[in-house]
């Protein structure tokens, strides 16, 4: 492989995607699929840190930013929820394995890993919000000795809407010093786990957590953050992710700003302490 000179590197147009190939499509829920993407040469398209983002596109349809939920030696995984009014996500969901797509990244800051080290962590997620948190959970599990107790609290509307079931019910509970709690919004036949909304369980399940990573629909974030504060977590250790409309992913096109921060560049991961100093415009 040719080694790029300094001037070559400078000339890389970050707005032009590389080609990726969809190697595998996994059905997570009726409206969430995970797409496993490699380069045509069978390599990993890029190496993301937990919480970082990738721009995923079908150039003839559109391009959108998604979190990278996992990666392996030769792939990255992106889990995508289909929105009825989302033109791109509808087409992505109709796609078959072997499809070539545009891919660029990694973008954004990712989770502040060092800050999580040595602490008992509570991960709080709802719906597709588990996708970014999962990248952090998997990182912690791969480097298990660097982190304290892992408590995962995850909720979905129904048992059919739960993503990453194999991780939730098979893989993660086997990891040492790890607890997984799953809840659904309403009682359902064939479900004997928790029933109720995620924020209600946090204090009860993880009263001694030292740091929290929260991601989910806006209402889950809104209700969970104050509970974590009540539990005595400092604002710096209450960590969440934000999502806004993005186009460029590299802090130039303008639209994802909250005050002087760009979510694509300075986020998507923010602490409660940072949010306290930002306009409430998200």
């Amino acid at each position: 492989m040719k080694t790029a000179s300094a001037s070559d590197v400078k000339r890389i147009n970050n707005l032009v995607p590389k080609i990726g190939v969809v190697k595998e499509i996994l059905d997570e829920t009726p409206d969430v699929k995970t797409f496993r993407i490699s380069t045509p040469e069978g390599e990993r398209p890029f190496t993301p840190m937990p919480g970082q983002l990738g721009m995923y596109s079908l150039p003839a349809v559109g391009e959108a930013m998604f979190s990278v939920t996992n990666y392996g030696d030769d792939y990255i995984d992106m889990s995508i929820k289909k929105y009825n009014d989302g033109v791109l996500t509808s087409v992505l969901h109709a796609m078959e394995e072997g499809q070539e797509v545009g891919i660029r990244g990694p973008y954004g800051n990712g989770f502040p890993i060092d800050q999580f080290k040595g602490k008992d962590i509570v991960f709080v997620a709802g719906g597709i919000g588990l996708a970014p948190v999962r990248s952090l959970i998997l990182y912690c599990m791969r480097n298990r000795e660097d982190f304290g107790k892992l408590t995962i609290i995850y909720g979905g509307r129904s048992k059919d809407d739960l993503c990453f079931k194999e991780d939730l019910f098979e893989n993660w509970p086997k990891v040492p010093n790890t607890e997984v709690h799953v809840t659904i919004d309403r009682p359902q036949e064939g479900w004997d786990g928790h029933v109720g909304f995620v924020p209600d369980f946090v204090k009860e399940i993880a009263p001694n957590a030292q740091i929290a990573a929260v991601c989910g629909p806006p209402i889950l974030i809104k209700l969970t953050l104050p509970i974590l504060s009540q539990m005595g977590l400092p604002d710096e250790d209450i960590i969440t992710t934000l999502e806004l409309r993005m186009k460029c992913g590299i802090g130039k096109c303008g639209r994802c700003n909250i005050g002087s921060c760009y979510v694509c560049l300075d986020g998507p991961v923010f602490s409660q302490a940072q949010l306290n100093n930002m306009p409430k415009e998200y």
Partner: protein, 333 residues
């Protein structure tokens, strides 16, 4: 200082056009903008040097619509081809000081260390800017209040400084690129005359402490007052020399397509509307506030300079006279 009589301007342009692509300010059917000199030669447009142009020369750096790459999507196959940049140097004649300052603002965004924009950089390298000092500011000009130097263009952007001596223009090289360009020109005179007199600007005010003051004004009722009459059209953003927000979209014919980047405006609903319907800036108030704060506070916080250069275009052209200078004066008090 080198000079040329205005009567011989055509010969200067002809020489420049021989060696470079040449863009000059023109009046095209009532719209003033930068356009190829050939338009003037063909009589399609008239050279316009009476004041600054409505559509700023940012078009020569960030065109209103620009192809980023071509693609072919054939079944499961996808091919992508990047676009070539400008291969010829391009002279922009008569860029005003405010607009050179504006390019410096764009540099902060498009030439940042982490994600440099090669399409922008290519134009930045290929453009040679002849910047003309304004002797007669318009009633809507306020560059002095925004800290600009009316005698000297922004040196990191302008390559040649131009002065208007009434019946002649004077030229002084600023950059090596500018010097090389001037050295190629023949038939220029030489003068040691002092700089032309500049009429004072009438729209003057103090901006000291503005970003700090605005920091505490996010919830101020002033936003209702200023946003009420806003139409949420894109006039201010599109004619502003520093507004640089863009959209990325397609033009497709069958299997082949072009990915475009086109100007966008924070005044438009689609700008921040998310799939699923969430709209963080739903109305006029949120949008006007974001635009003003981006100009006067957010950009300062990130880059330690204002994103308003005082060109006065929005003051002159806003259909409903939403006046950023009135706003600044009211905030400063």
């Amino acid at each position: 200082m080198k000079t040329i009589e205005k009567a011989k301007l055509d010969s200067l342009f002809a020489q420049l056009a021989q060696n470079y692509s040449l863009l000059v300010p023109v009046d095209y059917n009532g719209l003033t903008q930068f356009a190829p000199y050939s338009q003037v030669q063909e009589g399609v447009s008239q050279l316009y040097l009476d004041g600054n142009v409505t559509v700023s020369p940012k078009t020569a750096y960030l065109p209103q619509s620009e192809a980023m790459y071509k693609f072919r999507a054939q079944g499961k196959k996808l091919a992508i081809e990047e676009m070539a940049g400008l291969d010829k140097q391009q002279v922009l004649f008569g860029v005003r000081h405010c607009d050179t300052k504006a390019i410096q603002c764009l540099d902060k965004v498009f030439l940042d260390e982490k994600f440099e924009d090669p399409q922008y950089k290519n134009k930045r390298e290929q453009n040679i800017v002849f910047s003309l000092a304004c002797n007669n500011p318009k009633a809507t000009c306020f560059c002095e209040s925004m800290g600009l130097d009316r005698a000297h263009a922004e040196a990191s952007v302008a390559d040649v400084q131009v002065y208007d001596f009434g019946d002649s223009f004077g030229f002084e090289a600023i950059s090596d690129k500018g010097k090389a360009c001037l050295d190629k020109l023949t038939g220029l005179g030489e003068t040691a005359s002092k700089l032309p007199d500049q009429k004072p600007q009438t729209l003057k005010f103090d901006v000291a402490g503005l970003p700090e003051k605005l920091k505490d004004m996010f919830e101020d009722p002033i936003w209702d007052e200023y946003s009420f009459k806003c139409l949420n059209c894109g006039t201010c953003s599109y004619i502003c020399p520093t507004c640089h927000c863009f959209d990325i979209n397609n033009k497709i014919r069958g299997e082949v397509g072009v990915k475009l980047r086109t100007w966008d405006s924070c005044m438009f609903n689609e700008y921040t509307l998310m799939a699923g319907g969430h709209q963080p800036r739903a109305g006029k108030k949120e949008r006007v506030r974001n635009r003003f704060l981006h100009k006067l506070q957010y950009f300062n916080e990130k880059h330690d300079m204002s994103l308003c250069v005082g060109c006065g275009r929005c003051v002159a052209k806003c259909p409903v006279n939403v006046d950023i200078t009135k706003f600044i004066r009211q905030v400063i008090g």
